[in-house]
């Protein structure tokens, strides 16, 4: 049974991408490789977040807390208990999943905006703890991940081995997520998103399924956090702050929430946008305003506005549409309406805002 895109033509971008990723560390500078690693990690974070956002139609503002928790789990285990590296790396997603279970269990009782605000509150509680429990977490001074606690080939930042390590793990994680999203469970989640009342009355226990999605999402967010800790060699309370979660939401929407790979694209766009803006504006602002400003907020904000108003399908959605138009014009018959979801990308049209979960009295 073919699990990927249907036609061989659709495999091309995937293979091309893989090829580029493999060649990258030998072609790009060290700094760019580090940046690319960051993109890859955030791609995982964003795609796992999209399991809730695009596939379930749930907006969580506390997801950064799961990411940060994963990172802190790894850092704390390595720093305070001298645990073996692999154990710490496994613990990160496990704790992410556990925290997601608790957060989701409570949050899913609430409807719409209250769900979002609750996740915000819980996320901020977690951030406060990380920030203020200085004796345990070092608080604002950040907690270092010693290079000695990481096995040799991947212990130096910017090394090719570290890059491939991260890429390999993220690729495996994304494959698992892809399978989940295309499974019966994934289809059922989408049905829940479309119409929870109806889903309830085809025999689907809606709240339980949403909780499972939450836990899976938390698992991979925690993994991303752990990888981030390894990548950066430190963790900081900002990893749990709601703004980071908002940025991941931004990445997902920019890239396109109705596509599996949309958020990954969004992650790449945001990270690279931020990086290129670093170089462009400081000179200009220094000349005209007398101070050095990166203006990344302005750029990112403008991108957000443009996408919100003009490109609700996100950049990924636009690309997909363009590709379809191109293949149709080239005379090929395009995809005959397939029975089942559209080719490769199960999420069809823009996700509808989450409807309230059934109130069980």
């Amino acid at each position: 049974m073919v699990i990927g895109p249907e036609t061989w033509r659709s495999w091309l971008p995937l293979l091309a991408g893989a090829g580029l990723m493999a060649a990258a560390p030998f072609v790009l500078s060290d700094f760019k490789v580090i940046l690319l690693s960051e993109v890859v990690i955030f791609a995982l974070f964003a795609v796992s977040y999209n399991l809730l956002l695009g596939y379930c139609g749930l907006v969580s503002f506390g997801h950064a807390a799961l990411f940060g928790l994963g990172g802190y789990t790894l850092a704390l285990l390595l720093a305070k208990t001298g645990a073996p590296f692999l154990a710490a790396l496994v613990a990160a997603p496990v704790l992410g999943a556990a925290a997601a279970l608790v957060m989701g269990f409570l949050a899913l009782r609430l409807a719409q905006i209250y769900f979002a605000l609750f996740t915000l509150a819980v996320g901020q509680i977690a951030w406060s703890v990380a920030n203020k429990w200085v004796s345990f977490t070092n608080g604002d001074d950040s907690l270092a991940v010693a290079a000695t606690s990481i096995p040799d080939p991947i212990s130096s930042p910017g090394s090719v081995s570290l890059y491939f390590f991260i890429v390999a793990i993220v690729a495996a994680a994304l494959l698992v997520l892809y399978l989940v999203v295309n499974s019966a469970f994934g289809y059922t989640l989408q049905a829940i998103r479309e119409n929870p009342t109806r889903a309830e009355f085809v025999g689907v226990p809606v709240r339980h399924y949403r909780l499972l999605a939450f836990v899976i999402s938390g698992f991979f967010a925690g993994l991303a956090g752990g990888l981030f800790a390894v990548h950066n060699h430190f963790v900081h309370p900002e990893m749990l702050f709601w703004l980071l979660g908002a940025q991941v939401l931004l990445m997902s929407l920019l890239g396109g929430v109705h596509l599996f790979w949309g958020p990954a694209l969004g992650a790449g766009l945001v990270v690279y946008l931020r990086d290129s803006v670093q170089g462009v504006f400081p000179e200009l602002t220094e000349k005209h305003l007398g101070q050095i400003l990166t203006l990344e907020g302005l750029t990112l904000g403008a991108a957000a506005l443009v996408v919100a108003i003009f490109f609700p399908l996100g950049v990924g959605g636009m690309l997909q549409r363009a590709a379809r138009l191109a293949t149709m014009r080239l005379g090929s018959r395009g995809n005959a309406p397939s029975e089942g979801q559209a080719s490769g990308s199960p999420v069809l049209h823009g996700p509808v805002a989450a409807e309230e979960p059934r109130d069980r009295s």
């Binding site: 059922t188 025999g203 809606v206 029975e339 089942g340 559209a342 059934r358």
Partner: protein, 252 residues
Amino acid sequence: MDPAGETILKTEGLKKHFGGVRAVDGVDFSLREGEIGSIIGPNGAGKTSFFNLLTGHVPPDSGTVFFKGEPITRLSPHQICKRGIGRSFQRINIFSSLTVFANVQVAVLSQQGKSLNLFSPARNLVRRETLQILESVGLNELAGHTAASLSHGDQKRVELAIALANNPDLLLLDEPTAGMSPQETASSIDLIERVTRERGLTLLFTEHDMDMVFSISQTVTVMHQGRIIASGTPQGVRGNENVQRVYLGETV
């Protein structure tokens, strides 16, 4: 038509008040297996509320609902669905962004207990059963179309298909021909009657449109302000004075 069997659905003293409104005010109802029953009444009579009580979408204030002899009163909708009740809703309630095929497929997956399958690709799962259902309601041509793009009448057929996908013993249809043209109504009635007969279902529907009521319904129950005011054969009900008074001005 086959002679009706044992009681499949029964309610005793079912009550639901919303604030000051007595939506369902002490309803004793029963339906036998294999029967085709209908509930009629003016708007606000309590028909949809009654259905909501049956399917667990709304908990009753008092009273009991029995299905196949077992009480199902406080079960959640998804549990009730699993016991063998299928339902369509008054306003179209389908999975709009998904394809017609997927709409039914999700229901079949749930029916077969396969929804929790996390890793096997679902695209071609339960294909045969799904196509079978689509064929029985005449939607196989439209299988790949997005549900939202369909006409109103076709969307109602999707709704019916979803209800059938759960292999129900009892089918509850809430105003199945609402908003349809006379031709659509006629073909809808044919379809529903055929499907019911082929699968040996028990059918209970609510309606405004009397055509459907008089062409296929064996028993008619009339509700008014949350209560049953008459019940019996279509002809018997038509001749009932109370009913005529309630429907003053409407052709019964």
